[in-house]
């Protein structure tokens, strides 16, 4: 953990102190721009901003989560450019990563909140149970209380992962813990949702980099996600899209279409309704991503993806058991139809019974 007691330096100073040349700094800025999905022409502006950027204090809160988001971010190995960003934030509290435990850890959190009041960033992973505060507590403090207390003095909140952003798996039907997302609780602070299960690591760091670079939050979509990463759907950026347009689909995992790398729509790919950067950023240092490895997108960065129908059902298929419902409907229809039919037959029989023979003497109307 960085020492928050010393006067925070700017990023430029810090790098120079470590012997990084200006050329190295430019390389860093180029990589940062690329990571933030900003055009290369922005590099000079980024360089200027990062030069003066100061280390913000970050408090990371983990609630009902699986630590997958932290895993995604830190991964297993050594320094990357993302870690360089991390070196230049002051991660003052993260109960998975920090050395301190128990009261010491909580004291660090309170100290960071106190010293950086109004300026620190709160990163949250995991959803918050509302049904019973006892479902998830840290140091005896319920998730809800800790969130409210910690966010009160924050500049902004970054909800990392689909649990924090939208409720995620804990929120999946029947949602036994009454799990909710951060944005359902925090209404008076800017909340950025970095969804995904887990989110792409560079997207997490990209948002932090943006805060670091521009001192504010990036432009968000309707779901509170940064548009630069979530502005386009998987489908729109998918290299297999031409196969979709041509009507060439894989139908099983081992058919010709699968081998030829055709579109996975029919195998339940949720790419058309999923907004994320996987198709361009890819995973594991650009090695591959789900569709490239032959499996459809699960739609993990969208709300309620867990309840959005089977992973292997095409998007066009409604969720209910259609065949069964049609059967039930037909039975009900036969019952109601038979009743209606009887009603009609009675009406007609009644009319026939009331028939008065028409003779030529009653062709004129009653006057």
């Amino acid at each position: 953990m960085a020492d928050s007691k010393t006067e925070p330096k700017t990023l430029g100073e810090s790098l120079r102190q470590q012997g990084v040349s200006r050329r190295g700094f430019l390389k860093f800025c180029t990589a940062t721009a690329s990571m933030m999905a900003l055009p290369p022409a922005m590099v000079p502006a980024i360089a200027e901003a990062l030069e003066k950027a100061r280390r913000p204090s970050v408090i990371w809160l983990s609630f009902q989560e699986c630590t997958g988001c932290t895993e995604s971010l830190t991964r297993a190995h050594a320094p990357t450019i993302e870690n360089l960003i991390f070196d230049h934030i002051s991660l003052d509290y993260h109960h998975t990563l920090q050395a301190a435990a128990g009261e010491g850890a909580e004291a660090a959190r309170e100290a960071a909140m106190h010293e950086n009041h109004g300026k620190y960033i709160v990163v949250v992973d995991g959803s918050i149970p509302l049904k019973d505060p006892g479902f998830s507590t840290i140091a005896g403090i319920s998730n809800l209380d800790m969130l409210k207390e910690t966010v009160a003095g924050a500049a902004a909140v970054i909800a990392v992962g689909s649990c924090a952003a939208f409720g995620g798996l804990p929120h999946a039907s029947p949602n036994p813990t009454g799990a909710v997302s951060v944005s359902e609780i925090i209404k008076d602070k800017p909340v950025v949702n970095v969804s995904g299960c887990p989110p792409i690591p560079t997207v997490i760091t990209g948002v932090l980099a943006h805060f670091l670079t521009f001192g504010g939050l990036p432009e968000l979509d309707d779901l509170g996600r940064p548009k630069v990463f979530y502005g386009q759907s998987i489908h729109d950026r998918c290299y297999r899209r031409p196969f979709y347009d041509k009507g060439l689909f894989a139908e099983t995992f081992d058919d010709e279409g699968a081998r030829k790398g055709w579109c996975l729509y029919r195998m339940g790919c949720k790419g058309p309704m999923t907004y994320n950067a996987c198709a361009t950023t890819k995973w594991n240092q650009g090695t591959s991503w789900p569709v490239e490895s032959g499996h459809g997108c699960l739609g993990c960065s969208e709300p309620n993806f867990w309840d959005g129908g089977g992973f292997y059902n095409a998007i066009s298929i409604p969720d209910g058991d259609i065949a069964r419902n049609v059967g039930l409907g037909a039975v009900a229809g036969v019952a109601v139809g038979a009743a209606a039919g009887m009603l009609n037959r009675n009406a007609k029989a009644d009319a026939v019974a009331r028939h008065e023979t028409v003779t030529v003497d009653d062709l004129e109307k009653t006057s």
Binding site: D222, K246, F249, Y265, G308, P318, G333, N344, K348
Partner: protein, 220 residues
């Protein structure tokens, strides 16, 4: 939370179940209402068969009578184009095949999306032309009531929204896909209560027509 995804899930979930229930129950009720009314036994000595000519009329009425075609080529051709176009979009767009496969357990080859896309454009244009014709043609305008225009809308919306969804024109996609499915649910719910029912009753009507004529020795 009410995000486009929630809307889509609602449309694909409870809303679809409701629409499907109304659709299935409604159609079965309507068909039973018709069939159970029955018809009197015909005591006149028949000159021909009922069954065969009835079946034949079901088929032959698919082709227009020569005079009608000459008098109203637009109604006939327009009717063909949009019905066939609608069916192509419904039955040969791969996502639809996937849906039907999940219900029927059978599937068939789909068409390239570019072809379906072109068909959808032609279908929409034809429907618009047919609406204009309905508004301007003296007989059609005279006959048409609110229901006719409602039914037109119900047939038009799924194609337009499907077109928008395919082209991902309204963002976000879950919203436009949800609207597309909703428009189909609208169509399904209207079905039993409107003349959309002709989809299911026309074989009955044609059969009765053909059978009654067939009995008199005429192929209608």
């Amino acid at each position: 939370m009410s995000s486009p995804i929630d809307f889509l899930l609602w449309v694909k979930g409870p809303a679809f179940d409701i629409a499907l229930a109304v659709f299935v129950i409604g159609i079965v009720v309507r068909l039973l209402e018709i069939v159970l009314l029955g018809r009197k036994q015909d005591l006149a000595e028949p000159k021909g068969e009922e069954f065969g000519p009835g079946l034949r009329t079901i088929v032959t009425r698919t082709l227009p009578e020569a005079g009608s075609f000459k008098q109203s080529p637009f109604t006939v051709i327009g009717g063909y184009i949009w019905h066939i176009g609608f069916l192509i979009c419904l039955l040969f767009f791969v996502p639809h095949i996937e849906l039907l496969h999940s219900v029927l357990g059978i599937k068939w080859p789909g068409l390239s999306n570019h072809i379906v896309d072109a068909v959808a454009v032609v279908t929409m244009a034809t429907l618009v032309a047919m609406l204009i014709d309905r508004i301007t043609h003296s007989v059609k305008r005279f006959l048409s009531g609110p229901e006719d225009y409602l039914v037109w809308l119900a047939a038009f919306l799924p194609i337009v929204t499907g077109y928008l969804a395919y082209h991902r024109v309204l963002v976000p996609y879950p919203l436009v896909l949800g609207i597309h499915i909703l428009s189909i649910e609208f169509l399904m719910i209207l079905f039993p209560f409107t003349k959309l029912m002709h989809t299911f009753t026309f074989p009955l009507a044609r059969w009765y027509n053909g059978a009654m004529a067939g009995r008199r020795g005429v192929q209608s």
